[in-house]
């Protein structure tokens, strides 16, 4: 009897709910598609000290190490943010990161992350990563996954050591992490 009731309820559910167009429902996105959108958003919340070489027309987003974004960087490459064109670059050496506004350090560099951070010391760029422990190592913004959603932690000390200015609106959305 219990089972019969269960099955009836189930059938009722199947047929009572109105068929609605499926594509309008909530969509699920790829992890790196979302992270790419976050990176574009970050440009809206960060002020860099003006530099002579960038000419004020572009923002440079650099990806250091193996690129986990795949096709999704193509989509954000060339988008306009605060009147500037976003330029996505893949950098292979720390010597070529000077012009980066945001430096995304990929997971493949996890054993070299301290060396990378040493090399960019004094260059005013927002360092971003998505690897456990990066924020503690000194990466300023580090993505992590929580309940299938992309969240990020912030190392405020690392930001304070540079001349870049991060809006409090962004700071309050992140989880604060101390460095050692």
């Amino acid at each position: 009897m219990k089972r019969t009731l269960f099955i009836i309820i189930c059938c009722a559910l199947v047929f009572s709910v109105q068929l609605r167009p499926f594509y309008a429902g909530e969509r699920e996105f790829n992890e790196y598609e979302v992270k790419a959108a976050f990176l574009v958003n970050f440009f809206k919340f960060v002020e860099w000290p003006s530099r002579a070489q960038d000419g004020g027309t572009t923002y440079n987003l650099c990806i250091y190490g193996s690129d986990p974004f795949g096709q999704y960087t193509k989509i954000i490459d060339g988008t306009k943010v605060r009147g500037r064109t976003l330029d996505v670059k893949r950098v292979v050496s720390v010597r070529s990161v000077k012009e980066c506004n945001i430096l995304f350090v990929s997971s493949s560099e996890r054993r070299r992350v301290n060396a990378v951070l040493d090399a960019v010391k004094g260059m005013d760029m927002l360092t971003v990563g998505d690897t456990e422990g990066y924020a503690r190592s000194g990466i300023m913004v580090n993505f992590f996954m929580e309940a299938k959603r992309v969240k990020f932690e912030i190392n405020l000390n690392a930001i304070k050591r540079t001349k870049i200015n991060v809006s409090s609106q962004l700071l309050k959305l992140g989880k604060m992490v101390d460095n050692e």
Partner: protein, 679 residues
């Protein structure tokens, strides 16, 4: 009642077929243009979203590429992971189904239990003692038979599993006994994966029904709760065995002796660093094969396994990357076997085994100079009850009534040393002391080399051991079919492995080769007196090659092909090592039919012939399983329809010595229908 159920079952089948037809039809007309439009619009949408909204966007994969990559490539072992999504996509019902999909592993079913084979090793009469089974790190192998339960007797409903990690190779350096060929770590879902109340219903061939109610919620910032209850019942099949074709054994027909039923309960509470987990499961299975010299076709012969545990864990992170984890646990296991035996007279013979144990574990890890990681731990286990009873009901007779107790203490250290950007050296050792056995050190060393981005080479060496369990040592059924051997010694293994993993153009390719040798192997043998007995039967060595290629495309299409070759040889006359398939091929693909809404999971498994105990072979098999999965079809309703052994391939698995049959025929084509609704 049975007729009634059949009608309902048919109604469900018809309903689901109709529903699929409707879905297919409505989308074949408008589907492509919509999905195209959606795919070009989508990224813009995301970029334009305010950052607060972005934080709410749900991501389709739980295991991020980074997490996946991190775990697999740095670990001192070769690892396979099966996720909850794959469990859904391929319609896996039990842990045995999951294991059967993993490269190099295979499962044997004798209609009582599922037996696990790894690296060509699956000894007759072995209840999965050489694989350590963990649930969220809690040891599941019981203290009587050492069983790693993987069939319907597994304590958890598979729907509660977030992922299954199969860690190949000896891991006694961390876990002690049983981690002989590897470790299966089952990780349960968190409250965030459950999202409120969930009801799931399943119906399948041979009057199989499963109902599950689960609840998961995060209260405030800290308290996470997961609760779940499952009830499962299957009438089972009528079976035919040619070995029992005589008139007095119903002309080989075994009717209504194959029922299977389980109940399983699960609770998990997490509060900041503290987590309390409790689980209980009980399963009863009829034995339709006339095993253990029981009377054929008598439905009073059945086995039941119950298991429960409470595990309290506290984890704390200290500054300077220090972690401390303390665990306390209490475990309970009970086995009831009922066997109708015609001595004569016709008698009910019963087995009762009760195991109770508690213990604790403390584990500390620290990162040094932000590079190297060291960890150390200590584990104590007190088996305060290990009881085995075998007796006849009427006329009464007791054949064994043994109550013993034992304890073990183990300490271990492991270090991960980053030698350079490209080289990691990992070494660990554990020392175990058992009440009745001399202590032993088990080491493991691994050299992990990353010559280029996306390429990892691992050179691994490990030792493991397993102490004989009290079933192997003391059990007898009054010398009806089995006798004791209290002089057994621990068995040991040494394994060498070379593994290569490479990511190229979105493909993950892995290739590995292994060699192992086992000494003092504990194996069941048939003595000259016609009784089965466990002996330390000399040496065996095995070797093999495993290859796997996998790709996940961004539109949801996935494909995985795995091949493994394995060979085991005994180095002593008269021992039986041949029950392994030389070749295993596994192919899995999930094909999205309507973006995010409907897809098909197809699984092909091939195994080359295996030797049966009587020297014949089982002929090997190729089977195809197919699942149609509709996610979020109506609001939060998930529907799936699975056809197992789609082409109704007739195949068998070798039986072990308690069977008269040399091999046991497996299921033909069966169906499963599942509906899950989240409120």
């Amino acid at each position: 009642m049975i007729k009634h159920k059949k009608i309902i079952y048919n109604i469900i089948l018809v309903c689901s077929v109709l529903l699929y037809a409707v879905l297919f039809f409505s989308f074949s007309a408008t589907g492509p243009s919509i999905s195209f439009a959606a795919s070009t619009d989508k990224p813009k949408d995301l970029v334009d979203l305010p950052i607060e909204e972005l934080m709410k966007v749900e991501v389709s994969t739980v295991l991020g590429a980074s997490k996946y990559e991190q775990k697999i490539s740095d670990a001192p072992a070769s690892i396979s992971i099966v996720t909850a999504q794959e469990i859904k996509q391929y319609g896996y019902r039990t842990l045995a189904d999951v294991i059967n999909s993993v490269r190099g592993l295979y499962v044997t079913y004798d209609r009582s239990y599922n037996y696990l084979g790894a690296r060509g090793f699956a000894r007759p009469g072995d209840y999965n003692t050489r694989m350590l089974l963990l649930i969220d790190g809690h040891r599941m192998n019981n203290n009587i038979y050492d069983t790693a339960t993987i069939g319907t007797e597994f304590i958890l409903d598979l729907d509660l599993v977030d992922r299954v990690e199969v860690i190949r190779g000896p891991s006694s350096s961390l876990y002690g006994s049983n981690a002989f060929f590897g470790v299966i770590n089952v990780i349960t879902k968190r409250s965030s994966d459950m999202k409120g109340l969930e009801v799931s219903l399943e119906a399948g061939s041979y009057d199989t029904y499963k109902e599950r109610v689960s609840f998961g919620h995060k209260f405030g910032n800290d308290l996470e709760v997961v609760l779940s209850a499952t009830n499962y019942k299957s009438r089972g099949q009528s079976l035919y065995y040619k070995e029992y074709v005589r008139p007095e054994t119903n002309f080989g027909r075994s009717d209504n002796n194959d029922p299977d039923a389980y109940t399983s309960l699960f609770a998990d509470l997490k509060f900041s660093g503290l987590s309390v987990q409790a689980a209980y499961g009980t399963r009863t299975k009829g034995i339709p094969t006339g095993a253990w010299s029981t009377v054929f076709n008598d439905d009073r012969t059945k086995v039941s396994d119950s298991q429960g545990y409470v595990d309290v864990k506290y984890e704390k992170k200290f500054e300077y990357d220090q972690n401390l984890s303390v665990r306390l646990f209490y475990d309970y296991y009970r086995y009831d076997g009922k066997y109708i035996i015609d001595y004569p007279p016709l008698t009910m013979n019963k087995d009762l085994a009760v195991g109770k144990w508690w213990g604790g574990e403390a584990f500390y890890s620290k990162k040094i100079w932000n590079r190297h990681t060291i960890m150390a731990g200590v584990e104590y286990r007190d088996n305060f009850l290990q009881q085995q009873r075998n007796f006849d009901e009427n006329p009464p007779a007791v054949y064994i009534d043994d109550k013993s107790a034992s304890y073990s203490i183990g300490t271990y250290v492991q270090g991960e040393f980053v030698i350079s950007d490209k080289v990691i050296f990992n070494a660990g050792v554990r020392y175990d002391h058992y009440k009745d056995f001399s202590g032993r050190f088990n080491p493991r060393v691994a050299l992990i080399y990353n010559p280029f981005d996306g390429t990892t080479v691992k050179l691994l060496y490990g030792e493991a051991y397993r102490i004989p369990n009290i079933y192997e040592l003391y059990y007898t059924d009054g010398n009806n079919s089995q006798k004791a051997n209290p002089n057994l010694e621990p068995e040991t293994i040494r394994t060498y492995e070379l593994a290569l993993e490479h990511y190229i153009h979105g493909f993950r390719v892995s290739l590995s080769g292994f060699y192992y040798d086992v000494r003092n192997l504990i194996t069941q043998q048939l003595g000259t007196d016609g009784l089965m007995v466990f002996n330390n039967a000399g040496k065996a060595d095995g070797k093999g090659i495993e290859f796997e290629i996998e790709r996940k495309w961004s539109n949801g299409l996935t494909g995985k092909l795995a091949y493994s070759f394995q060979e085991v040889k005994g180095r002593e006359e008269g021992t039986y090592y041949e029950n392994f398939p030389r070749h295993l091929v596994k192919f899995n693909t999930f094909v999205p039919i309507i973006k995010k809404k409907l897809g098909a999971g197809i699984e092909v498994q091939y195994a080359s012939p295996r030797k049966n105990p009587d020297g014949t072979d089982d002929g090997g098999y190729t089977i195809v399983n197919t699942t149609l999965l509709s996610e979020k079809v109506l609001g939060n309703l998930d529907l799936s329809l699975s056809v197992y052994n789609m082409f109704d391939k007739k195949y068998s698995n070798p039986g072990s010595r308690e069977h008269t049959q040399s091999d046991i025929e497996q299921d033909g084509r069966t169906f499963g229908l599942k509906a899950t609704y989240r409120f």
